[in-house]
């Protein structure tokens, strides 16, 4: 083995540079980095961080994304298991593209642009300019959105032109590998008028126990009459700190549907905003959370009705075990112009342990006429009668509980109306139950 004479030999490698002292990922991201360093860390007194354990958010121990070697690459590709049938997939590890595979001819149809983000930035600068992180993070996570903007290296760029329908889902896998590793997954989907697409992001850690940082952004843009279904199956390691920031912009008569399945992470903060920007638009916002151990799952949502005759329907369901905490803070806002709005918001918490804690803050701000808005929040536990009924049929208490929780979460999955994806999500939920002693 040759060693360059110019490189001094060292017995101990130099201490690795931490993320916080590494600066931006590339020269073009300096502005975002400067912003990131200027914005203070959130404090408890900030209404947008009410209930959250902000001391959990320390970023100092994480390392910038580092490439994985060939053996890891092979192993992760094998582990990237999604749906039986999909139109194509990209697999990333530590923000490095491992593979891009198209299985369906639909993707080569004229005009569909499905590229790694960094490639799209060069080949389609106008689209990139027009849509990349154009909606500001308004729910309190601006610091983490700017961190993402300063660090993002790759991700999915998917542009579906007018009238093109992609019938099979497209998938992306984002892996986090190594202790204290970080990654910044990005998904940007633009569906032009009357276009249709279904997309799934899978977030996984190579080591289910390794500490790490994930800070993702997924933005959805829907033109007139477009239909986009977006699913994020989040299963980071149980020691990961994770952020996920979403903006969905819904055009005239368009229909957006999103589902976040939150299984992993020690502390997760998600922010999801639907802008109902033009008449007739509709957004369904779904989430299911299976929280156990000491997990804190903090979800903030915003349904902004910016035009008349729009509708939104949110359903978030949390099951909480052990000392898990969940926070749901959601707001429906109906702007003065947005008459004839239909907006719903429902959060339901199922507490399975005496140490679990569910916080709910569903909000309404209504300034328009002829509006139908309701919200509801419930927190409760498994009814003894229900449990008894199942046990009287010979099912063990533990199994009966799991069955009931499963049924509780199933309502969310069913709302997606995508049986294959639903089955995969159910599998993942079951796997988490199975892992929980």
């Amino acid at each position: 083995m040759m060693t360059s004479v110019l490189e001094p030999m060292t017995d101990t490698p130099a201490a690795p540079t931490r993320l916080l002292s590494a600066g931006p990922a590339a020269p073009g991201q300096e502005a975002a980095w400067t912003q990131f360093t200027k914005i203070p860390m959130p404090t408890r007194t900030d209404e947008r961080w009410r209930f959250a354990n902000v001391k959990d958010l320390d970023l100092s121990s994480y390392l910038p994304p580092a490439p994985v070697d060939e053996a890891v690459r092979e192993a992760l590709l094998v582990r990237s298991r999604g749906l039986e049938k999909s139109a194509g997939r990209m697999v990333f590890a530590n923000d490095q593209l491992l593979t891009r595979e198209a299985y369906s001819e639909e993707l080569s149809r004229i005009g569909v642009i499905w590229l790694p983000l960094e490639q799209a930035m060069i080949e389609h600068p106008n689209l990139f300019q027009q849509y990349f992180m154009r909606e500001e993070a308004i729910l309190g996570g601006q610091k983490f959105a700017t961190l993402h903007a300063s660090q993002v290296r790759t991700g999915t760029f998917l542009f579906v032109p007018r009238g093109v329908e992609i019938n099979l889902p497209i998938e992306a896998f984002h892996w986090l590998h190594g202790d204290n590793a970080s990654c910044f997954p990005h998904t940007l989907i633009m569906a032009q008028d009357m276009a249709k697409v279904t997309f799934i992001d899978y977030y996984e850690s190579a080591d289910a126990e390794a500490p790490g940082l994930a800070c993702g952004v997924n933005d959805l843009w829907l033109g007139a009459g477009a239909s986009v279904t977006y699913v994020c199956a989040q299963n980071w390691s149980s020691k990961a700190l994770a952020f996920q920031i979403n903006a969905t912009v819904v055009g005239r008569d368009a229909r957006a549907r999103s589902l976040f399945a939150q299984l992993g992470a020690r502390h997760l903060r998600t922010e999801s905003v639907s802008h109902l920007r033009a008449q007739g638009g509709r957004s369904d916002m779904l989430a299911l959370t299976v929280a156990d151990a000491a997990q804190e799952i903090d979800a903030r949502t915003f349904q902004i009705h910016e035009a008349p005759n729009t509708s939104s329907d949110l359903l978030y369901k949390n099951s909480l075990d052990d000392t898990a905490r969940t926070i749901f803070s959601g707001l429906i806002r109906v702007n003065p112009v947005a008459h004839q709005t239909d907006a719903y918001q429902k959060v339901r918490n199922l507490l399975l342990s005496d140490e679990a804690e569910a916080n709910s803050a569903p909000g309404l701000e209504i300034e328009a006429d002829n509006v139908r808005c309701t919200h509801g929040a419930t927190s409760g536990q498994i009814e003894q009668e229900e449990l008894f009924y199942l046990m009287s049929r010979g099912i063990s208490k533990r199994a009966a509980q799991k069955l009931i929780v499963h049924g509780f979460l199933q309502e969310v999955i069913a709302r997606l109306e995508e049986p294959a994806i639903g089955a995969r999500l159910t599998e993942m939920v079951q796997a988490k139950f199975a892992a929980h002693a």
Partner: protein, 470 residues
Amino acid sequence: MSTAELTQFDIDRTRGDFRYDIKHEFDAGTGLTHETIDYIVNVKGEPDWIREWRHKALDVFLSKPMPTHWASKDLENIVFGNIRYYLAGGQKASRSWDEVPEDMKRTFERLGIPEQERKFLAGVEAQFDSEAVYSNIKKAVGEQGVIFCGSTEGLIKHPEIFRKWFGKVIPTGDNKFSALNSAVFSGGSFIYVPPGVKVKHPLQAYFRINAENFGQFERTLIIADEGSEVMYMEGCTAPKFETATLHSAVVELVALKGAKIQYVTVQNWSANVFNLVTKRALAHEEAEVKWIDCNIGSRLTMKYPGVVLKGRKARGEVVSIALANDGQHQDTGAKMIHAADETTSNIVSKSISIGKGRATYRGLVHVPKHLKGCKNNTECDALLINSTSRTDTYPAITVRGTGNSCQHEASVSQISAEQIFYMQQRGLTEAQAMSLSVNGFVNDLVRQFPMEYSVELKRLIDLEMEGSVG
């Protein structure tokens, strides 16, 4: 006598909008400093412990920021330096209306207070600016050992009961305005109901602001001893002034084991009053506290009556009606802190926004660790009348552990054009149709008010609806 004169509660806004030019003998001047506090203590002849307590509270008030990070920015329009903090005539509260100075007596007569006292009240306290000018309790009630007097008299004459609970339910530093009240409080009621005594008729306080650039800071403390029952009602009015007036009360209720307290408020301040009130109750074992709160007047009201459910099986309830018209923001709600097993709480809130009015509900429900059998039910319904009206709902619910259940539901609705057309087709005018619908919306809550108030409430709502259509 015409029917109009027979109406018992003449406290609608137009009727409250009059004033007599009264020169107060004692005036602490404008602005708030430690000297203001010494002035108030000296005039009132209070003991040293309260002087010290007030000075400390002022420091807390000055150190606390305005809560504008969550509350309305309109709070910034309060100029504390322009307000007069104490105005009084120096006389003791009379036991007889005949001894009340003429203009003050005429004020309360126009508001119908002495008449109501004769008809259905067990006792009345009438506060004019900073001090009560009249305070009386029916002989039979007094003989049962019920104490009903002003806060100053309470702290001087009954220190053994007063000091035990004063500032314990709402500590000085609870919020900026509770600190302000603690520093400069004057007036309000002190009530003690001995064990087992059930006061049949309501006790009533009436708060009147007459002076301009003035702040009213009454302090009420009600203690219902074991197994006792009491209902307290308060009403309030002020004339319309050009400048903003501040009303910032603190009300503490203590319901000991098995006691029941009902506290009824019909707030009808004129539209220049900042009404920033802290109200909280402590409910011991099997006690019941019910706040019935109706906000029709004021420019900005911020008030979230609360119950700390401290004893097993304690029960708390807030029934709230808010009506926000042009230039008004009714920021109201409820807090329920569960701190013992099998405690239950219930919140029903209905708000109506008219014209450019804004109604906000803020709620807090807290069920901490290891409690069993706690239940909360919250229902908030908002009605929007015009396309310029606004309504907000901001509940916050924290539940820990299994064995408890919380439910929150809220809805926003309008009176539809089709509904109005249907009623018009039966011959009702648009305004009549609107009034009928609005009364229908709040009907189930109004029924929970004492009879005398529910009649008046309906009338007030009709009055507010006039001119709101079109």
